[in-house]
């Protein structure tokens, strides 16, 4: 298939629609004109018949014998005028009893229809078309010639009228397809002209690749439809570029994070094998290597969780969860870590707060955030987990009195592998030190339609707020929530 086909298709369809519409309009218009013309011609013919009738009234006179004849003009020498009108006009004069009294010579022996009925004629003159081969238009009316009541009939041929209509119809039948064809060609050209920027935009868009995501479509006129399309497309490109950049950074970070323990394992092993050592030293060496393996394993598991989350393949099993009980459980779980640092870790709540969430997922999030607070707060610090309920839902706030987070770091703390203080994180090591804990926490909250926020003041401590939407019934599905989280 040619790659230009979609453009052609729209053009052709536009032209077809346009031509079809035009044909319908033209046919209706032509029909209207035809009806109007026919009416006008018929009216004109009737007017002429009335004239003829009046002439006939003037010209008909009674013969001494009791018959009727065409009068010769009194003011004229000879019978030129009367004879000529007599020659041209089709006139019949009938007696009320139905005897033919006079028939103009132009008619010869041809009758103008059947014998007239007096009662009809007496009602007044009216024109009608007489059926038959002659296509006559006939007008008859009652009149008195020298005291003798008669029926005068005049007629004219409809042939000129019909001929005119036929000619007009012929012009239309021949002209209409031509007009439609011309309009089609014009419409096609116009459509091509209008759609040309679309093809041009497509060409431009095709040139934009993953490597050249920085490019944008030129927006000729931001106000028109094509300009809007280009703007929307550029917007999409910008988002794509951002997410690609994010992905690239993530890949670089991940490979760095993975390489570090690998390098450690390798060098410890290589150095260990360099010279013979005693069993205890070997044990230490292997132990060190295994510790690094453990770090690697935690890292891979964290990454796996996040990549499943990204792919949307984690099935949530929501249930009503009491956040206060959950917070107490987590505090109980991690309490020993705080105790080791002589920190106080307390849960504050006035009443049970129930939300509909996947318990394990939310628990993981809370563990990560509390673990983070314990880890980064100084000895003897106070960490509070405050559970509250409000109109929009419920909030889990983890408030510490730690060193706080500098403004330039705040936006990034939820990024994968982002560390405020790399050296300190390394020194803390262990499980929360993967740099993924807060990313996982954010995902866990967002997949439930909630959000996680950080408020911090340097030297004053930090507050991680997990806001969960109120829901008294189970959400329709995990997928829907995921979509919601992604939109958010």
């Amino acid at each position: 298939m040619r790659h230009h086909w979609p453009g052609h298709s729209v053009r052709v369809r536009l032209t077809l629609w346009y031509t079809a519409a035009l044909t319908v309009v033209l046919v209706l218009y032509a029909g209207g004109v035809l009806v109007f013309l026919q009416h006008r011609l018929a009216t004109e013919l009737d007017r002429q018949l009335h004239d003829d009738f009046e002439v006939a009234e003037q010209m008909v006179e009674r013969t001494p014998e009791g018959g009727v004849r065409w009068r010769t003009a009194p003011h004229h020498e000879g019978r030129e005028s009367g004879a000529s009108t007599e020659q041209r006009q089709w006139v019949e004069v009938w007696s009320p009893e139905g005897h033919l009294l006079y028939r103009s010579p132009a008619l010869g022996n041809t009758a103008l229809g059947p014998v007239p009925v007096w009662s009809q004629a007496a009602q007044g003159s009216a024109s009608r078309t007489v059926p038959g081969d002659h296509q006559l238009r006939l007008l008859q009316g009652a009149y008195t010639v020298g005291g003798l009541p008669v029926v005068i009939r005049v007629a004219r041929s409809e042939a000129p009228l019909r001929h005119a209509l036929r000619t007009f119809l012929l012009v239309l039948v021949l002209g209409l397809p031509l007009a439609v064809a011309l309009a089609g060609v014009g419409g096609y050209a116009l459509a091509r002209r209008v759609l040309a920027p679309v093809g041009w935009m497509a060409d431009q868009a095709r040139r934009i690749t993953v490597e050249r995501l920085g490019e944008r479509l030129p927006v000729a006129n931001p106000a028109d439809e094509l300009g809007q399309l280009a703007a929307v497309f550029n917007d999409t490109l910008a988002r794509l570029e951002r997410s690609f950049a994010q992905m690239r950074r993530f890949t670089a970070d991940a490979s760095h994070e993975l390489r570090t323990p690998l390098t450690a394992i390798r060098s410890v092993g290589e150095v260990g094998l360099r010279t013979p050592r005693d069993a205890q030293t070997y044990r230490e060496i292997i132990g060190t290597m295994l510790e690094e393996v453990d770090r690697l394993r935690h890292l891979v598991e964290g990454l796996l969780t996040l990549s499943r989350a990204d792919a949307g393949s984690i099935q949530l099993t929501p249930e009503p969860v009491d956040l206060v009980a959950l917070a107490r459980e987590v505090a109980h779980h991690l309490g020993v870590l705080a105790e080791e640092k002589h920190q106080s870790l307390a849960v504050e709540a006035t009443q049970p707060v129930s939300v509909w969430v996947d318990r394990l997922v939310l628990r993981q999030a809370l563990i990560n955030v509390v673990d983070n607070a314990i880890k980064y707060s100084a000895d003897k610090a106070t960490i509070r987990v405050v559970v509250s309920e409000h109109q929009q839902g419920a909030t889990l706030a983890v408030i510490d009195t730690g060193p706080g987070i500098a403004p330039q770091h705040r936006a990034h703390v939820f990024d994968r592998f982002y560390r405020v203080d790399t050296a300190r994180a390394r020194e803390l090591g262990g499980t929360g030190g993967t740099g993924l804990g807060l990313s996982i926490a954010r995902w866990a909250v967002e997949i439930h339609g909630g959000r996680i926020e950080l408020e911090s003041e340097e030297g004053q401590g930090s507050t991680f707020c997990m806001v969960l939407p109120a829901s008294t019934s189970p959400p329709s599905s995990g997928r829907a929530m995921l979509d919601h989280a992604r939109r958010g």
């Binding site: 969780t305 020993v336 105790e339 993981q364 563990i367 262990g430 499980t431």
Partner: protein
């Protein structure tokens, strides 16, 4: 005790072979699904350790066919897929237990022992190691003549170590069995370390013979005398 190991990855197969042989098991290694199927049909084993991702015939197919033929031997499957559906599929196909790669070797040993023990009623009321004694009924712990005051968690932890005395216990095993932590990614290692440190303080601090030992990079072991 004979164990059939079906594992295609040579390094892992060799490590399993050596590790299990060191625990005095009689080990037969099969490198493909067909080979594993052949051995399992031809000889008698006490436990089968079956990798699911095998070239040719997959572990699940082998397992399903063996079960269809009426083989009763307990099967422990090894899988790199820890998605719930995969585990369920493995257990549905007739596996008795599963372990997700990368697994800790002590955990594999513990699972194998559990499978071998299966069916036998384990009515232990007292646990003992050297002069350390634990009464599971009264929930009291004594060392020598001294009663040790343990928290509930410390009691559970010590009981687990005592049940597995002379065996290596990994942090994952403790996380799973003592803390009943369902998710693997949850950072509990620090918590476990702190509890072990406290327990050690109570159990070993004032005694000449240390019982709880840390094996770097692996986990913990409860035994009299230093770990070999």
């Amino acid at each position: 005790m004979r164990i059939l190991v079906v594992e295609d990855e040579p390094t892992v197969a060799r490590a399993l072979h050596e590790g299990l042989a060191a625990e005095h098991y009689d080990v037969v290694v099969a490198h493909t699904g067909e080979e594993g199927f052949f051995y399992a049909n031809a000889e008698i084993f006490d436990v089968v350790v079956l990798d699911l991702m095998l070239p040719g015939r997959s572990g699940l197919e082998v397992l399903a066919t063996l079960r269809k033929r009426g083989l009763q031997t307990p099967v422990l499957i090894l899988t790199a897929k820890d998605a719930v559906e995969d585990r369920v599929r493995g257990l549905d196909s007739g596996a008795d237990d599963y372990l997700v790669k990368p697994f800790a070797f002590p955990e594999l040993l513990a699972r194998i022992r559990a499978l071998l023990r299966r069916g036998r009623v384990d009515q232990v009321l007292r646990l003992k190691a050297g002069d350390l004694e634990m009464d599971l009924v009264t929930r009291t712990v004594t060392r020598g003549h001294r009663v040790l005051e343990l928290t509930a968690r410390e009691f559970e932890l010590l009981a687990y170590l005592l049940r597995h005395q002379n065996q290596l216990v990994s942090r994952e095993m403790l996380s799973h069995d003592v803390w009943q932590e369902p998710a693997r990614a949850t950072p509990l290692d620090n918590v476990i370390d702190v509890h072990i440190a406290r327990l050690r303080k109570k159990v070993d601090h004032e005694f000449a013979t240390k019982l709880i030992h840390t094996v770097r990079g692996v986990g913990f072991i409860l035994r009299e005398g230093a770990p070999s």
